[in-house]
Amino acid sequence: MSTVRAATLPRGALVARAWAGLGDAVAPLSNDAGRPLTRTVKLILDPLVLRPVLNPEFAAGAIAAEHADALTARIADAGPVLAATASWFAVLKKERRRRWITDGNPQDLYFQRCFELATVHGEPGPDAADVAATVLAEVHEQDGPTVAALRDFVTDPVNAAELTRLLDAAWAARRPAAAGSTATSEFLATCAVAPDRTLFGALVAGLAGSAGAADLDRPGVALAHGLTSRDRPVRPELGRGASKANLPRPFDRSIVERLFAPLTNAFQRAGLADVPTLVRREITRSAGPWQLAEEESRLVVVLGRDASADLAGPPVGGAGSAAARLRSRWKREAYVHRVLRMPSAVPPEVRADVRGVREAYLRRLWVRLHGRELRHETVTFDQVWDVLDGVLRSVILDQRDRLRSALEREAVA
């Protein structure tokens, strides 16, 4: 570092320096460059060591020089428990391999468990293999809801009749959302760098998200949003089964299809309610504005809709606004295509995706928000930009993958 003391230091640099001081003991939590893995930061350092919620001075971004030593000291102090976490991770991976478990990402599934083990037991002892076996059983054979349980529940004739009645009743009781103010531009103008808690709160309280759904029942509106293939949304079926590929558009999915993907992901399944509760909630949710249950989620769809309105059209929204930033990401992609020698003429099988990037964007956004509702991870004012930006990135990267595999298929044909 320079000899001149800067007013702030990048947190990444401080973390890297402190991490390097922990040496080889934390190698299982590091990448080949010796930096902590992305998930080490996300699942261990942030929530369990630095805890910016309690210590705002350690939040990602620039760290004031006077807090720099405190931050590195905090990581150094956690050295023994981090080293033990790393050892436990190695033990769990070994046990996982021995049991031929391939489900899920081990970092997602075990990192926080390992930190717990390290806190309670310290370094793995003679009984480590037994402890690891117990943890793996908990993680992988947990009772949580499963696809099989879901299928059994909805195909039971008594349940099916009752659930269909619930669906009918929920949809019969639908009231058109009150038209209200959906003035989102002020919040969107700064949400990427300085999200305004008060503005977000006012939009939630003013039911801007629900109001934004008011015209979805008009012919062609939900269709233009890419959320249905029908002219207007209809009551979803209860459904019996689902396949991960070729799911219909969000509003056309059956209740079972809506719950299917979250149940197949071991990492996400952990925090879900039991099957009957999930199904009943999903029925209620399907009849709500945007077919979502929480006002925050509905608002984020409206924010995403407004911010993505001008991806390809003339620019709207000032410099630095969410709209301008999304647009810049989308424009950048055209250049990346040239550099990576991706097609500039679009093959027919992916043409619809490219033309309909905004529809794909809104679909993906809905699925994300729906998943967060199931896991009770309501979007907060300061997470909005990461969600809005992350969804476009994910749509773009999936498109790239599809173009690339279309090219590779051609090359071997």
Partner: protein
């Protein structure tokens, strides 16, 4: 090294996509010009806050001044550049996957896509913490196939072991090993020979790399054409030397759109095609007797770049120099 900065741009961003080794970081993209051999890349900063978390790994102490808006900064030579070098490796592999100029005629052997995908996944994992895509490692692993080890190359064996461990760490199952994908990449005699007719006119044109997918045609060989008179009719015949992975639908356009010819792999392995043309083709002025080869599903023909020929010659000789080079990636070194 001195670096200039203007608006969101740091350093000199290479102009032609063909020489760009690109890395998409969180909040900023990095680019090296493969022909320039500079240690520090150019950067475009999209989001200074996100970029600040890691740009010091690339520019050292100069990062702060760069993000602070200084017009010119001095990037120190000394320091720990492990992460920057790892970024370069990812970028280099991105470049090789797109532009490596495999050519039988120029003596540039083809890359092994299995080695490329594996080495790229390992390289990506090394810089995962600064990439734009938080799922970059899983995404990179998704295109990796497992290897049948041991191979004939200990370096490839080490790579195979490393990528298998990585896949386990991320809970990704590698695709089953495929039979060696690279067909005999050799060239039989063939091409336009006029056949039984009388060749009235003939010529060659270079193929614009940007108009065809990577590996579809030989990167150095020109496309050949001939206008042949046969049994009272006039035919345009076209032939192109295929690259290591032909298979994309190709076509050729003669003149300014006067004639379109579809190209197919013939019995000798060449990409050839012919189309009847009006005898008036023989009257075209020489500057319009130009042949443009392109892949219709990939790109629309565009006006050729006058600087392309010398740049591509330089890229081809650069690629040749990489094959035995200790500083090259395993992928480049093991091209054959």
């Amino acid at each position: 090294m001195r670096v200039t900065r203007a608006a969101d741009l740091v350093g000199d961003w290479p102009t032609s996509p063909e020489v760009v080794a690109l890395l998409e970081g969180s909040g900023a993209s990095l680019a090296w010009d493969v022909l320039a051999d500079a240690a520090a890349p150019a950067a475009r900063v999209h989001d200074p806050e996100r970029a600040a978390e890691w740009l010091w790994e690339v520019y050292g102490d100069a990062a702060e001044a760069i993000l602070g808006g200084a017009a010119e900064v001095e990037v120190p030579d000394g320091g720990d550049w492990g992460v920057r070098d790892a970024c370069r490796r990812v970028a280099q592999l991105n470049w090789a996957g797109a532009w490596w100029p495999a050519s039988v005629t120029a003596g540039v052997p083809a890359l092994d896509p299995a080695v490329l995908h594996a080495e790229r996944a390992v390289a990506v994992s090394t810089v995962e913490h600064l990439l734009d895509d938080p799922d970059a490692v899983e995404r990179a692993l998704a295109s990796v196939g497992s290897f049948d080890v041991p191979t004939s190359d200990p370096e490839v064996d080490a790579l195979a072991e490393r990528v298998a461990a990585l896949a386990e760490d991320y809970g990704v199952e590698l695709r089953p090993a495929r039979a060696p994908g690279r067909a005999g990449f050799a060239l039989a005699a063939g091409g336009v020979d006029g056949g039984t007719g009388v060749t009235a006119l003939s010529g060659t044109s270079t193929v614009d790399w940007a108009l065809v997918p990577h590996g579809a045609v030989d990167a150095a060989a020109p496309a050949r054409w001939a206008v042949v008179r046969r049994q009272g009719s006039t035919v345009l015949e076209v032939s192109v030397v295929p690259g290591p992975t032909p298979g994309s639908r190709l076509a050729a356009r003669f003149g300014f759109g006067e004639v379109e010819v579809a190209l197919d792999v013939d019995a000798t392995g060449w990409l050839t095609g012919s189309a009847p043309v009006s005898a008036a083709v023989l009257l075209l002025p020489p500057d319009r007797r130009a042949l443009t080869v392109y892949a219709p599903d990939f790109a629309e023909p565009t006006a050729p770049d006058p600087d392309a020929a010398s740049r591509r010659a330089a890229i081809i000789s650069y690629a040749r120099s990489r094959i035995g080079s200790p500083t090259a990636t395993v992928t480049e070194r093991t091209a054959r």
